[in-house]
Point group: C2
Chain length 410, copies 2
């Protein structure tokens, strides 16, 4: 017997470009289900539950829902709160009062952990609640998932950024470093490699958190590329760690730690500036530039992977279908090669709390660029109709002036 | 009598997303003109002339030219070299040897100055050379021009960035600072205002180089907005100056100066980090994030203003037409309100060397946001089909739990 009651949806953790696709997938599926009496949204994730801060999503027009789906950021607002015992008790009093029977939470591994705790608490309290976690993260580090909604669009932003900036760096000559998000997983930084249309084009070097970062090796790599091409374009993960496993950036900043124990890595330019300085000093190259891509890579409006957007919609839709069937857990994405996606529900413990790293075989042996396996893995995720960049194919004009005057012709 | 000879084209200064549109506009016009015997491209701007580093652009296919037009960065590569007497002498020896009779140079005010010097030298040497400057700059600071090719696309990038990041900042709560390019002119930073679809949406505050920056006033502004909306999204120009006219950032970095005497402002995150620290300390707000937009705003692939792209093509085409008529000077863009564009040739001195600032009336009286005049001015430049962001319009659910338990309902 399916439960009759209200559905509550919320969003947790850092937003993505397509997290609202999942929200709209859930809402539209809920609208089709007669057992769902009301569709509530909790504002600021589980904070909205504890504070009884709900909105009635029934009032959204179909047209506005489709616009919401295309809007970056978590439209229901987000939170990084982790509930303790007292907080959970309070949340359940509020949910019981409102007869919430379906709870869908869109987020990463921290949000999955929250779903796990809530489901466990519900069982202990003997409260019938279907709790389903809908995956999202630009870091692509959710366990059990082939890839995560949100990653493909962020990866596409990184791809388009590197294709463009490589042409800029080529025109000006010099070293360019782009610092990419990724606390422990290098997937997004690795995605910069997809920018390459021919092997002399940047990014020429890629550094990820999974491979210990050695400054001397890095400087050697940069020097070698610079000597070969007269420029060097580099993608570096914000989360790169030294050989002892300490984030390189944590040696540069006062720590700001969130409630899940994560150090703030984004929102400052120190790592890029430090690496640029090191290159200038060691290699005596004056034009060295570093950009920290920051929040734009997860929130930039209008650059999305169509594949990612479609899948983000589907994980929401599928998650709602499963909850309405009386199931709880985490929706995960599987791939059948070369590229077809299936959704499954797995026990929430399998996704919650811990994250996964990028497999070693996605990087080359030297650890300073991706492997062909990574390219095969990532290429379908960034979607279709990706803009191309041109090269000049004009032949050089013979240097007849130099020859006539007996000057050196390189 | 029109001169029969070779045409030489080159690109100078920082690239834009549409600088190659102008190049293609020139090439296609040259292909149609029987007096042009050859179409040469000089690599790395005027460096390519001194070093006899030319390519034969006749070999480019029409298809590749159209792809080049859409490629960011200067495809002929760029330079910041400023020619002295010996350098000019050398350039003329090479040009004379190759019978270059038409010289088109795409660039900003420094490149216009180079064209002025070259034309002057040609007259002194009694060498028949038509020299035309084709405008480009994301800074939008070229004199005589209503606006400059390259600005509209960079402004569109800033617009889409702020629309997205405002939603991200709204979801997470806190202060967000975006540092935008602009050495002396605030146009590009001001363009962030175009992101707003309703007045509560960010950016809430805008700071430009034209108005002296006072840290205390800035912190007061931020505090006021934060108290009102629970968040604050801010656009700050990299070139903001204190009351003595010193760049705020020059107090933070060791200077790197190029051959035109310009201090390096981009390519590091110091200004954003400094402002974020000041806010954290004074206002005791923990979540303060700063992104320095850096090179992506002028080179990001796939985000362009269709209006800007069309005009960039046209300035190239018109510049070539005028040169082939035997004229020299700088092509400028005029506007007849509300929005129709005309091109004119003006004496090169009128555009060369000096740049223009944003008119005071483009900012509000307080100097912390744009005026309606600026919006009217800038809106047509960012082009059509700009993605929109949605807001949630769902009504709040009555807080019956809180009421029942006699708790405060804000």
């Amino acid at each position: 017997m399916p439960l009759i009651g209200k559905m509550l949806i919320a969003q947790g953790g850092g937003p993505t470009a397509v997290i609202n696709e999942s929200l709209v997938g859930v809402i539209k599926e809920a609208r089709r289900n007669p057992n769902v009496t009301h569709i509530y949204g909790a504002l600021h994730g589980i904070q909205g539950i504890a504070e009884e801060d709900f909105v009635d999503l029934a009032y959204e027009t179909e047209g506005n829902l489709e616009c919401i789906a295309k809007t970056p950021g978590s439209i229901l607002l987000s939170t990084r709160v982790k509930p303790d015992e007292a907080y959970l008790m309070r949340m359940f009093e509020v949910m019981r009062h409102h007869n919430i029977r379906y709870f869908l939470y869109i987020g990463g591994n921290d949000s999955a952990e929250t779903v796990r705790i809530i489901k466990e608490f519900a069982q202990r309290e003997d409260y019938d609640l279907m709790a389903v976690h809908i995956p999202k993260t630009i870091d692509n580090d959710l366990r059990e998932n082939d890839h995560s909604p949100g990653f493909g669009s962020a990866a596409r932003y990184v791809l388009q950024a590197f294709r463009g900036v490589e042409k800029d760096n080529m025109a000006m000559g010099g070293i360019y470093i782009g610092i990419i998000m990724g606390r422990h997983a290098g997937f997004l930084t690795a995605a910069a490699a997809l920018a390459q249309q021919s092997e002399d084009e940047g990014p020429h070097l890629i550094y990820v958190p999974e491979i210990p970062f050695k400054l001397e090796k890095f400087l050697d790599d940069v020097e070698r590329v610079y000597k070969k091409f007269g420029r060097c374009t580099i993608a570096v993960s914000e989360g790169i760690e030294d050989e002892k496993g300490n984030p390189v950036i944590s040696q540069l900043v006062e720590d700001e730690v969130d409630s899940h124990g994560n150090v703030q890595l984004s929102g400052n330019g120190l790592l890029g500036d430090m690496l640029a300085e090191a290159i200038k000093k060691r290699l005596n190259i004056s034009r060295v530039r570093a950009d920290t891509f920051g929040y734009l890579q997860r929130s930039f409006l209008g650059v999305r992977s169509d594949v990612d957007a479609k899948e983000a919609r589907e994980v929401g839709e599928v998650g709602a279908k499963l909850a309405f069937k009386g199931l709880s857990g985490s929706v995960v994405m599987r791939r059948i090669p070369p590229y077809r996606v299936y959704y499954e529900l797995v026990p929430i413990e399998k996704v919650a709390r811990y994250s996964k790293s990028m497999p070693r075989e996605f990087m080359n042996k030297e650890g300073n660029f991706v492997s062909e396996e990574f390219i095969q893995y990532a290429r379908p995720l960034v979607g279709n109709d990706i803009p191309e960049i041109a090269v000049l194919r004009s032949p050089p004009i013979p240097k007849t002036f130099l020859v006539k005057h007996g000057e050196d012709v390189e």
